[in-house]
């Protein structure tokens, strides 16, 4: 019997007879449910916006420079996590830890910038109750922020696990890093749409 390339063998997961590991399939199905969640929110945004007699320009009422900074931070973190995956693939422990730590720091940076932005708005007495625009703004960016927080927890867990040699011997570890990366890129994609929709257009 000829041997063929089998990603499941590399990742160490059970084969699903489709060339996709169980873990990866699970993460993608989870992301599919997340797509539906954010799709409903974007639909609400579109319907509310189209049904409104007036809608503010994002750059008139929100802090665009801070949001642009957050976009740069999040895109950078997408690169650092994919570099962490590349290092994990090469079983370069210190390289993985460096890039994963950079990803977590960038994620925390995103949350700090967002906290400044929220803090300024709350200080001005602006909240979800202020208008339909702010209601959808706080709902969408708040939910996105919670996803960032979840990503920090998962990435922090992987960084903690990476300190122990037994995890590097476990072939499942690379699959876990890949799953965390997929989730993080999804969070980045959501922000790629949130940024122009709320702040710029």
């Amino acid at each position: 019997m000829s041997q063929t390339y089998n990603p499941a063998a590399i990742m160490g997961n059970a084969d699903t007879h489709s060339g996709v590991t169980n873990a990866k399939l699970g993460v993608w199905l989870f992301l599919a449910s997340e797509i539906m969640l954010f799709a409903t929110l974007f639909t609400s945004y579109i319907v509310l916006r189209m049904g409104s007699t007036s809608w503010p320009w994002g750059w008139d009422v929100l802090n665009v420079p801070l949001a642009t900074l957050n976009t740069v931070i999040l895109i950078s973190s997408s690169v650092t996590i994919v570099m962490a995956y590349a290092k994990a693939y090469d079983k370069d422990k210190s390289g993985f830890q460096r890039w994963m730590a950079a990803t977590i720091l960038l994620s925390l940076g995103f949350l700090v910038v967002k906290a400044f932005e929220y803090g300024h708005e709350f200080a001005l007495g602006i909240g979800p109750h202020t208008s339909v625009f702010y209601a959808i703004y706080f709902t969408m960016t708040g939910l996105h922020g919670l996803h960032i927080l979840g990503g920090v927890a998962v990435n922090g867990g992987l960084l903690y696990m990476s300190a122990r040699e037994e995890h590097w011997r476990n072939p499942l570890f690379l699959g876990r890093v890949e799953g965390a990366g997929l989730y993080w890129h999804f969070v980045d994609i959501v922000w790629i749409f949130l940024f122009p929709a709320l702040y710029l257009l």
């Binding site: 041997q3 063929t4 390339y5 990603p7 590399i10 699903t16 489709s18 060339g19 996709v20 990866k24 399939l25 993608w28 199905l29 599919a32 797509i35 539906m36 799709a39 409903t40 974007f42 639909t43 579109i46 319907v47 189209m50 049904g51 994002g58 750059w59 665009v64 642009t68 976009t71 740069v72 895109i75 950078s76 997408s78 690169v79 994919v82 570099m83 995956y85 590349a86 693939y89 990366g181 997929l182 890129h185 999804f186 980045d188 994609i189 790629i192 749409f193 940024f195 122009p196 929709a197 702040y199 710029l200 257009l201």
Partner: protein, 122 residues
């Protein structure tokens, strides 16, 4: 592991050079997104352009960072089903709002209302 397996594994090796290039492209596209908003274009054009750039950025992240380019057909199918499901939920709703806007927009209301243009004819 055979030589064949090694070669195939190398094909799936993360491409660090490519990631750096994508990072550069994403940064440039972010600048373009902000620049579009500074042009103060009419809203429909601004939204169309902004959405177009966002789609390119999302495509780059999805295809190259998430490795959807060259991913298994099973994952592609799952995503297409998701996109189709989302479209079934979203598009009729947006269509309803569009139709409602047409019905209740000021000129139509004026023409339907007894005290509008038609009322004056009587």
């Amino acid at each position: 592991m055979s030589k064949n397996d090694d070669a195939q594994r190398d094909e799936h090796r993360p491409d660090v050079g490519l990631y750096v290039k994508v990072f550069g492209a994403l940064m440039i596209l972010t600048i373009i997104t902000v620049a579009i908003s500074k042009l103060h274009l009419p809203r429909p054009q601004a939204i169309a352009l902004g959405l177009f750039v966002a789609l390119i950025k999302a495509g780059l992240v999805g295809a190259l960072f998430m490795h959807l380019w060259g991913e298994s057909k099973l994952i592609h199918r799952a995503l297409w089903i998701t996109v189709g499901g989302a479209a079934i939920l979203i598009l009729p709703l947006i269509d309803c709002v569009l139709v409602a806007n047409k019905i209740t927009s000021p000129p139509d209301v004026a023409s339907q209302h007894p005290s509008g243009e038609h009322a004056e004819e009587h």
